[in-house]
Subunit: 428 residues, 2 copies
Amino acid sequence: MDWLIRCSSLAGCYDIRYQYRLAMWDSIWINTHLATLREGRYGVVRRAALAAEGGRIAWVGARADLPHEPEQLAREVHDCEGRWITPGLIDCHTHLVHGGNLAHDFDLRSQGASEEEIVRSGGGILATVRDTRNASEMELIRSASARLKRLMDEGVTTVEIKSGYGLDTRNEMKLLRIARLLGESDAVTVNTTFFGAPTPPPEYEGRSDDYVQFVCDEMLPEVAAAGLADAVDADCGRATQQQARRMLQAAKALGLPVRLHADLDSDSGGAALAASLGALSADGLAYASDAGIEAMAAAGTVAVLLPGTHFFTRSQRTPPVAGLRRHRVRMALATDCNPASSPSTSILLMLNLACTLFRLTPEEALAGVTCHAAQALGPGANCGSLEAGKDADLAIWEIDDPAELAYAMGANPCVGVVKRGVPVHRAI
Amino acid sequence: MDWLIRCSSLAGCYDIRYQYRLAMWDSIWINTHLATLREGRYGVVRRAALAAEGGRIAWVGARADLPHEPEQLAREVHDCEGRWITPGLIDCHTHLVHGGNLAHDFDLRSQGASEEEIVRSGGGILATVRDTRNASEMELIRSASARLKRLMDEGVTTVEIKSGYGLDTRNEMKLLRIARLLGESDAVTVNTTFFGAPTPPPEYEGRSDDYVQFVCDEMLPEVAAAGLADAVDADCGRATQQQARRMLQAAKALGLPVRLHADLDSDSGGAALAASLGALSADGLAYASDAGIEAMAAAGTVAVLLPGTHFFTRSQRTPPVAGLRRHRVRMALATDCNPASSPSTSILLMLNLACTLFRLTPEEALAGVTCHAAQALGPGANCGSLEAGKDADLAIWEIDDPAELAYAMGANPCVGVVKRGVPVHRAI
C-alpha cells in the first residue's frame, strides 16, 4: 500500500492503481476550507477536501472523513495550503458585448450636463447602438474578451450575456453569436439572453409598438431557430408593461425561458408581471411593490439586484431588501456590465457595493453570486454550490474568512480557478 | 546613418553610437499619447514621445518635434503601440502597514450592529492596534507587500504610508521601519509619515492629554532622530484641536513637515489649523468651513479627499468641492487604505468614487492622484507630471481617453509601469 501511495505521483502507475480500484477520482483538493453555499448559506467546512470526477464534484466533506489518503483516492492531488474554496462565481446579468464606451458622457455629467444635453451631444444609449453596429465582429470579440477576462480573473466561471445594442436582426444575432463564441472556452460557461431592449432603434423612432411587433414577429423566431438564446429578457418600466409582456409571451411560445428588467425607475408592475410569466428572474427592482415581491416568491422568481447600476446612476432608491427577505425571495447580484449605467467588470466590487449600499450581509452577497445567481439562469446551470453532482467549478481564495470577499474594496484575492475539474488560471 | 539605425537594436554598438554623439538618452517611448498633468490639467500631447536619462524625464513632446529618429536619440526605444502614458500614480494617504482586518466588524455592521456593539464584541480600531502589536515584522511585511503590490499593479509608483496602529514607541517605529523597507524597492517610492493617532492606546485609556505629551516628549524625538518619518500627521476633530496642534508644533520644532486629518466628522477648525501651521495637506475635510478653505488656499495647503472612506463609512457629508474650486485649493485623492474605514487598495476606484460621489471631473480626479498628490508630499516628491527634470515615473494604459480611468468601475487598464526610467512591471 505504501508503495502505491508513493508511486501515485509518477506517470505510468495509473493503470496499476486502477487495477487495484484505488484511483476513483480525477482530482482532489485538500488542505482547504470550503464555503459550500448550499441553500444560500456559507455552509463552511473547515479542514476540508473536495474531489472531482468527469468534470463534476464527486465528494465534499471534512478531510478527516476521507476514507483513504488523498493520493489513494485521486490521480491529482492539489494542496491548497489553507486557502478557501467557494463555488466559481456567476455573473448572471451582463451586457458584456458592445462597441465603444461612454466615458465622454461620464465626463460631461461630472461637469453638470443634463441627460438631455448628453444625448444632444451624441451620447447616451443610441451612441452605444451606433458604436456596436459599426464595430466589426473582431473588434467586438476583442473588447468583450478583455471584459470577460477581468471577470474570470475574479473567480467567475459562468456569465450571462444579453444582446440588446444591435436592435436589428442582423446585429442582435451578431451579438448573440459572439456571446456563444466566448462560451466555447473551456474556462467559462456563457449563458445567452436575447434582450428586447426598451429603446427602439433610430429607424423605429417614435414607433415603439411597431418595433415590439417586429421583435416578436421576426427577430425572436430567427433567434430561436438559430438556437442563439438560452432565455429572453425585456424591460418593464422603460418599455410599457404591455410591450414587455408581448415580447416575453412570444418568447414563451417559442419555448424559451424568460427574465425581466423590472421596476428600475418606477413601480411599473414589473415584479408581478415577471412572476405571472413564471420568469426565472426579475432584475433591478428598486421600485418593486410588496405585492410584486410576494408574487415573485410564489413563482420562485429570483431577484437580481444591480448595485453597480444603483451606484453609478446615483440612484436614491434602494431595492426592497427587507421585503425580499420577508418573502424569502432569493437575491442574486450581478455587474450589469454595460457602458451606460454600470461600466464594471468587477463582481467582487458588487459584493461590497451590495453590503454597503443595500445592507446585504456578506453571506447574502456571496450567495448572490453563487447559488442564487445559478437559479436566475434556470435549471440548466448546474453550478453555484459545492455539492456532489454539480459542475466542479471552483474559485480559490487567499482569505481567512469569506466575509473578506465583500469587505475589501477593489482587491482581488482570487488565486486560482477550476472549471469542470480542470485548473484554468492561477493568479499567483 | 541607416546602418547606425539598423544596428541600434544590437548589443555592442552603443560605444559606436556614443562616439558619434547620437545616443543622448537612455530610453525613449514613442507611438503614444501623453497626459502630462502639468498644473492640474490633462495636458494631452497626441502622437507624442517621451525620453528619459539617468532616471529623469529628459524630453517630452510631439513625435514630430523630435530632432532625429528615435533610434538615433536613445539606446532603448519602447513602442507603445498607441497606448497612453500618464505620470505614475501617487497614493498620498494610506495606513498600509497594519495587522489583521476588520471583515468581522463589516459583517456585524451589515447585520445591524451599532458601533458600540462592535467595539464591545472586540472589534474597532483597538482590535487593529492589538493585531498590529501582536503581528511579527514578517507578517506585517507580507500583508503590506500584498497591498502595495495591488496599488502598483494599478500604476502607482509613489505611496505614502502612515504609522498609527502601534501607539507605543517600539511599535510605531516598527511600522515606520517596515514602511522604509517597502520603499527600498526599485519599483516604488515610499514616503513615510508618523501619525499621532487620535485614539490613545489601552494603557492610556481616559488620559489622552498624557498620551499626547508622551508622543511629543518621547516618541517624536526618537522617530525624528532615527530618520524614520518624512512628515508628521495628527487628527483635528477626533483629537482636540489643542492636542493636534501640540503634536504638529512638536514635529515642526524637530524640523519635520506636517499634515493633518481635518474636520472629518465635524467642523473642528482643522482646515484653518493646518493652514496656520503651513501644513503640506489637510485630509478628509468633509466638514471644513469656507474660512478654513480660504486659509488653506493662502497657505498652499493641499486638500486630500478620501472618497473610499466617505463611501465605506456611508458618510452623508461630501467635502466642500465647490469651495475648494472657488479658492483654487489643489485637490488630491487617496485610498486612505486602512482596515476600519477604507479597506481598499484600488487607486483607480478612488477616481470613480470621487467623480460619482463628489462630482469631481475625471480630469480633476487624475490630477488628484498625480500632480496634486505630489504636492501633498512636499517638494521632495519630484514626480506627478510629465516634464523634463521630473522622475521618469510612468504608467502606461490601454485606453482611448484619460477619462476612462475614472469612468470604469473596478477595471485595471494599466499595462506597464516605469520607475525612474526603468520598466518594472508589465501586466500584459
